[in-house]
Amino acid sequence: MTSDAFLDLVRGPLFQIALFIFLAGVLVRLVEILVLGRKTDFAEPRADGTGAGLRSVFSRSVPEAGTFKRSAFTILAGYVFHIGLFVALVFLAPHIALVRDTFGFGWPNLPTPLVDFATVAAIAALVAILVNRLRDPVLKFLTTFEDYLAWAVTFLPLLTGYMAFHHLLIRYEGMLALHILSVELLLVVFPFSKLMHTFTLFLARWYTGSAFGRKGVQS
């Protein structure tokens, strides 16, 4: 198969299948959580839980001072990776062009050097995170196959995307096809793995924040 034919395949039917699995899978996972619900709390609340819950949804993105001191690397590398990935995903011109072609609307992109920097930072952070995972006694102990899988399917789109954009190693069409294929792999693995945290963490923060808030504890 030529790289052009391969590109057509991954851009066409494969992408549609992957996107369907992703959307349906995420929907199923969220419904699985929401249908379980939570029992009514009969204890007289000390304070309002709703406000505290909404607050926690955001405030958990900022670590408590002592925790930052004890786990600075994990936290900083986590920030760099997540912000870098977000910038590359949302503000790269070709990504926005794809959205515009599909949905008819878009938003301004960020300058290429900035997106480039974010991408490289995200890649470097992911590598550092992996090395740390292999070395740190707690992380080594906790890590399962799924952790490596989640790492790999997140790493590959960043790497291939960067290489395709800069025409590195192989012909652009070939690398672009590999990039899209790696994204499809990510989409398919996503709903069945801890990558789900992208969505479920907001629910988790809400559940905890509102329950703690009723007790008068801001978390």
Binding site: L36, R70, D147, V217
Partner: protein, 424 residues
């Protein structure tokens, strides 16, 4: 699968709700919770990573409440909950977790890990994988009325002593009193100062209060061992007595988990709101202070600090009250690093103090407290939980640290202005 494992699985299933499902879905194994846990920090043993302690519950969630997990268990690929797993996890679920909840405060995805350990205990106890010490305490609590086997006779005797020492009458079973006072076994057995302090403060403040001969014990072993059935039975005794006497407020004593049991879990255990309010003694004292009814004189001349019991502060929301009260009688008050919401557990909460096999571990865990104390070098340590107090005293002694420990209620009573009591 054995019958025991089946019992655990069924109990786990009853505990799994949307929150638990969201929590397990969100964990990315970042390891931050390990560094929030005093059992990990003081031992360096990765097995004590909080989220790892939840493997049995996680397996049931995955294989029963996720599509992929259900498919995997159909073809026998899902990891199973076995007797061996439960036996191996007993230590992690009980001995190495004081339900202090620091992990639940630091988790970046917001998981209430300590809350899940509490839930996991339901399954462990259902299958019989719970420590003997806690089983014994629970049995005594249900049969005799107190985990330490204290009966009303012992309380009566203490009432007699307090009445002799203070010249005050201790009201018992007084219909329609404003406050019903509970005590913990520890206070009845080891710290009679508590009842005396309450009697004197309430007398000076002209508060209408009573003890109940039917429900004097606040300690709830059911919460510690993690059995909703036992916890419900014990809390029901308090609810029935309080509603029979028609009191307005029931006061939880200087005990952490008793407060959680009465204030937060109780209404959910009995499935309805109370017809009375549930408050911690420090909340009541702070209200009296605000109303000008708690008057003190003089100050301690020593440097003092306050140990926040986890169940009061982090898990209970009683944060500012103790500090406002302490400042009434202590000029040289200093907070330890991490004090308040992120305070380090004494090491013996959540039932750990009743587990013989955990005796060594809980003293190792005390090192977190030792460092906090060394940072501020107090001459006296104040707390508001008899269980913390025992552990603090033991830990201090073990480390040759000469710092007396005092209950806050008792400290306030030492400075009480009692001039108006004659008319009361």
């Amino acid at each position: 699968m054995t019958d025991r494992a089946k019992l655990a699985i069924n109990a786990f299933k009853e505990q799994i709700d949307g929150a638990v499902s969201a929590y397990f879905s969100s964990c990315v194994h970042c390891g931050l919770c390990a560094h929030a846990c005093l059992f990990f920090n003081e031992t360096g043993d990765p097995r004590y990573t909080p989220i790892h302690k939840l493997e049995p519950l996680r397996r049931v969630w995955w294989s029963e409440y996720t599509l992929f997990g259900k498919l995997a268990s159909l073809i026998g690929l899902a990891p199973k909950v076995t007797d061996k797993l439960l036996a191996d996890w007993q230590e992690l679920t009980y001995n190495a977790c004081s339900l202090c909840g620091r992990c639940s405060m630091v988790c970046p995805v917001g998981n209430d890990i300590a809350g899940m350990i509490r839930k996991q205990r339901e399954g462990m106890v259902a299958a019989g994988y719970s420590p003997e010490g806690l089983q014994g305490a629970s049995t005594r609590a249900v049969k005799i009325g107190s985990p330490m086997g204290v009966t009303w006779k012992a309380v009566s005797a203490q009432i007699g002593h307090v009445e002799n020492d203070t010249g005050l009458a201790i009201p018992v079973d007084r219909q329609g009193a404003d406050y019903m006072v509970l005590m913990s076994s520890m206070e009845i057995m080891n710290y009679p100062e508590y009842l005396e302090a309450v009697a004197r403060i309430f007398n000076a403040a002209d508060v209408s209060w009573t003890l109940s001969s039917e429900a004097f014990e606040a300690t709830n072993s059911g919460i510690q061992i993690g059995s909703a059935d036992i916890a419900r039975e014990l809390v029901s005794r308090v609810v029935n007595a309080a509603e029979k006497l028609g009191v307005k407020t029931v006061i939880s004593p200087e005990c952490g988990h008793a407060y959680t049991a009465l204030r937060w879990e109780g209404p959910n255990l009995i499935g309805r709101p109370y017809k009375f309010k549930a408050r911690h003694i420090l909340e009541v004292l702070d209200d009296l202070r605000a109303a000008g009814k708690l008057k003190t004189e003089g100050f301690e001349d020593e440097r003092m600090t306050f140990h926040d019991p986890c169940q009061l502060v982090r898990r209970g929301g009683v944060l500012e009250q103790p500090r406002r009260l302490v400042r009434m009688v202590v000029k040289d008050f200093v907070d330890m690093p991490d004090a308040g919401k992120m305070n380090w557990c004494c090491g013996a909460g959540g039932g750990v103090s009743a587990i013989e096999e955990a005796a060594e571990l809980k003293l190792t865990a005390f090192n977190a407290k030792k460092r906090q104390l060394e940072a501020v070098k107090p001459e006296k340590l104040i707390t508001a939980c008899a269980n913390c107090r025992i552990q603090l005293e033991e830990g201090l002694e073990e480390n040759n640290m000469d710092i007396p420990v005092v209950g806050l209620t008792e400290l306030l009573a030492e400075h009480l202005v009692e001039t108006e009591k004659a008319e009361g």
